[in-house]
């Protein structure tokens, strides 16, 4: 069991109900895509899994760890095993790429090593290997404010690859990348999780990307789970129902003519774009 949510609700301080009655389980090594219109609660769900937010109701258990009875030290150990790719990479502009990547293991390294690494990076090969998987090895000693938005997002992914987490959470991890790069970067994340048997939960705005790359799809709408199905069982009608609030056109990777409501009915969704 990688995580289990049982009847979890999340109500913000202003009374807004972000999540309501979520029951969701994943075995270790599963790959799950979260899809749904913006504001549906995908990010809230990922924050909950990442222990950034505590649930207002229900039970949460992550990596066999009951979050509600957490001690600080135990929570820190748990968190070191969770890696999160954020939509906007949380990396200081003046930090160098190497330091930003090595920061992925701050939760695992002894303090002296983390401190010393500020003066001289202590694992250059490791960081270079993670960056190389995302074609960024040549940027290793550059400053992050010299990178483009897409490059920075891939540095964020490299950090999580370097962290080698047991549970990888990704919140719109490839939103700043062009379709080809998005597909390949996401694939690196999936391959990494598969090779280490890590669980991967990714929220994706592009429906085709989710259907093509993930075996299990969870649709979220208005803070509730709309469906939780194998990718092969997700029908066109379900998707339109899910995205009803965003109009007739399903969100896909930009400029991809292969996925329009009219054309979609004949060829199966997931092979259309490959």
């Amino acid at each position: 069991m990688s995580f289990a949510l049982n009847g979890v609700g999340l109500t913000h301080a202003n009374g807004f109900v972000a999540l309501d009655g979520i029951t969701l389980q994943a075995d270790q090594g599963e790959h799950i895509a979260l899809i749904g219109p913006s504001g549906a609660g995908k990010t809230s769900l990922i924050s909950l899994l990442g222990t950034a937010l505590a649930p207002s109701s229900g039970q949460v258990s992550i990596l066999d760890f009951g979050q509600n009875t957490a001690s600080t030290a135990a929570l820190k150990r748990l968190r070191a095993r969770i890696g999160t790719v954020h939509q906007a990479p949380p990396i200081p502009g003046r930090q160098r790429v190497i330091t930003a990547v090595l920061a992925g293991r701050l939760g695992q390294w002894p303090v002296w090593k983390s401190l010393a690494s500020l003066f001289y990076p202590l694992d250059i090969p490791g960081a270079r290997e993670a960056l190389a998987r995302l074609d960024l090895a040549d940027k290793i000693f550059q400053r992050c404010d010299q990178l483009s938005g897409g490059q920075l997002q891939r540095v964020g992914i490299a950090r999580v690859l370097y962290q080698q987490a047991d549970l990888i959470l990704a919140d719109e991890p490839v939103s700043a990348l062009d379709p080809v790069l998005a597909q390949s970067s996401l694939q690196r994340l999936i391959d990494d999780a598969a090779s280490r048997g890590a669980t991967l939960v990714a929220s994706l705005h592009a429906v085709d990307l989710a259907l093509n790359s993930f075996p299990r799809i969870v649709g979220i709408k208005a803070g509730r789970i709309a469906f939780d199905l194998p990718a092969s069982s997700v029908s066109e009608a379900m998707l339109h129902e899910l995205y009803a609030s965003e109009g007739q056109i399903l969100p896909t990777q930009s400029n991809e003519a292969c996925f329009t409501p009219q054309a979609a009915s004949t060829p199966p969704l997931r092979s259309a774009c490959t």
Binding site: G50, T51, A52, K76, R77, L78, R79, A80, R81, I82, G83, T84, H86, A88, P90, I91, P92, G93, R94, Q95, R96, I98, T99, A103, G104, L106, G107, Q108, V111, S114, L115, L118, F119, Y120, P121, I124, F141, Q142, R143, Q146, Q163, A165
Partner: protein, 518 residues
């Protein structure tokens, strides 16, 4: 008025009453500040200041005196550097504790915050005055005073800088299991390192100025030399010291802006995060601090013996309880009022003079004048004005006015340059004399900026007016100086508390005003 209500300017009545109110407030302020322009031209005063100023030329150049001067200059620099090192040591842990940066819930630490308020609310000059009584005349008092006040100031600003930037990187690291110190080092420091270094260097520049001023209460360096020269009416020596001081401030300014500019360059891509430049700077920094402590030769070990601990204890104990008798409280209240009066009238004079001089041409000449006026600290001006109008609040008013004219003149000139030019030009093109074109066209555009600068300066002048009295320029400072000289520590304690409360009140009021105007 025979005008029909519809034809009357609706603004006239509020304006009339505001003017009346202003007069009503200003009159007692002028009274309290003992403004008497006549004193400037009093024959006996003229004689004193005349002979003193005529002694300025030629400046003293005797080799023995120059030796003293050189040593005092080095001492001033060393006090500033050592004081800053102490302040930094104090500020780092306090800023860490006080700041909300890297915390998952943005909680502030009220205990540490109030400690910081107390540390920086008491002016360094007051600390110096008190420490001189514990450690004797010499640089130790100056270093400790700087360390405490600037420690509080640095800690507050560091904490705020840490909070001012994007919190997402540090939060993300915490979520990966990093502890708070590491999350700050990896997630916040890279964003703020330049700002922290820049502010620290700027503060060092201020510390150089402050350490000169602290010499006037016996804390060593150029100030102490200046104080001796003034007391002996030795104009030549005073002139040499003043020139040295101006040069020192100028050089400190150059070093400070040079260092801050060097922070802007991105390092070359290499495995080591520090280039040869920053390594060199670090070496210089460590060298400067070590040299300063060695040069000052402060027997810190002597400070921490049982004997001195008990004498310090006894000394501090004599400040408690503060004298809260009605008679003394009313005297202190009078001192607060006088301090406010000095600051208000001094700022008002400076605002008027600054506004007039800001438009004077040639600009280069007046910029030089402004720079000269503002590089002499208020306290040094006060020793000179006290000679020309006698001891008392009016000397303080003049000292504040002279220094502030330099500051405000410069700021006003910039604000007027940046004000929209079109309205004034249009008026001039339609034949309006330039003075009127200024009043009708340029001033309205720049007014909010000018008012903001003036209020900001007034805020600083209130703090300054509280300590100008150490050289006899009235207000709370004079009260404190007398009581300390007479060993009336319980009374002195009340005055220090009043200064602290005044500083906090000014802080809160200006923060409130800024929030309202924003």
């Amino acid at each position: 008025m025979h005008l029909k209500p519809a034809e009357r300017d609706p603004a006239s009545q509020p304006r009339f009453y505001s003017a009346l109110l202003a007069l009503f407030i200003l009159w007692p302020l002028f009274q309290a500040a003992e403004v008497s322009p006549g004193a400037l031209f009093d024959p006996s005063n003229l004689k004193v200041i005349g002979s003193f100023l005529s002694g300025f030329l030629p400046p003293e150049r005797g080799s023995e005196f120059l030796g003293y001067l050189g040593k005092a200059t080095l001492e001033t620099l060393a006090i500033a550097t050592a004081g800053m090192a102490l302040a930094g040591l104090l500020a780092l842990p306090l800023a860490y504790l006080a700041s909300a940066a890297g915390r998952e819930k943005p909680t502030l630490n009220p205990l540490i915050r109030s400690l910081l308020t107390i540390l920086r609310g008491v002016p360094e000059l007051v600390w110096a005055l008190v420490f001189v009584r514990v450690f004797g005349l010499g640089p130790a008092a100056g270093v400790l005073a700087l360390g405490l006040t600037y420690g509080g100031m640095l800690a507050k600003v560091y904490a705020e800088i840490l909070e001012s930037v994007d919190a997402a990187p540090a939060r993300a690291l915490r979520l990966n299991g990093a502890s708070r110190p590491l999350a700050i080092l990896y997630g916040v420091i890279p964003q703020v390192s330049k700002e922290l270094a820049s502010y620290t260097v700027y503060r060092w520049e201020c510390a150089v100025r402050a350490s000169v001023v602290m010499g006037f209460v016996g804390a060593g360096g150029l100030g102490q030399l200046m104080d001796q020269a003034m007391k002996m009416f030795n104009g030549g020596e005073a002139a040499s010291i003043l020139i040295t001081f101006l040069l020192l401030v100028f050089v400190a300014d150059l070093i400070s802006s040079g260092l801050r500019r060097s922070l802007d360059q991105a390092p070359p891509p290499s495995a080591a995060p520090f280039g040869p430049g920053s390594t060199g700077l670090l070496a210089i920094f460590v060298g400067a601090v070590t040299t300063s402590f060695w040069f000052l030769d402060i027997g810190f070990s002597a400070l921490f013996t049982l004997e001195s601990a008990s004498s310090i204890n006894q000394f501090i104990g004599s400040f408690f309880p503060p004298d809260l008798s009605a008679a003394w409280l009313s005297k202190v209240a009078q001192g607060v009022w006088e301090t406010l009066a000095i600051s208000a009238v001094g700022t008002l004079f400076a605002a008027v003079a600054g506004l007039l001089l800001a438009q004077a041409r040639p600009r280069l000449l007046f910029n030089f004048l402004f720079n000269a006026l503002r590089s002499v600290p208020e306290l040094v001006w006060a020793t000179i004005t006290a000679l020309s109008v006698g001891l008392g609040p009016f000397a303080g008013v003049l000292a504040l006015a002279l220094h502030t004219t330099g500051v405000l003149g410069r700021l006003y000139a910039e604000a007027l340059d940046n004000a929209p030019a079109a309205p004034g030009r249009a008026l001039r093109l339609s034949g309006v004399p330039s003075g009127l074109a200024f009043l009708y066209g340029t001033l309205p555009g720049a007014a909010p900026q000018l008012i903001a600068y003036t209020l900001y300066r007034w805020e600083m002048n209130i703090r300054m007016a509280a300590i100008l009295g150490f050289v006899g320029a009235g207000g709370l400072g004079q009260l404190l100086y007398f009581e300390l000289s007479l060993f009336h520590y319980a009374q002195a304690s009340t005055v220090i508390i009043a200064m602290l409360l005044l500083s906090i009140a000014v802080d809160q009021t200006s923060a409130w005003l800024r929030r309202r105007m924003a």
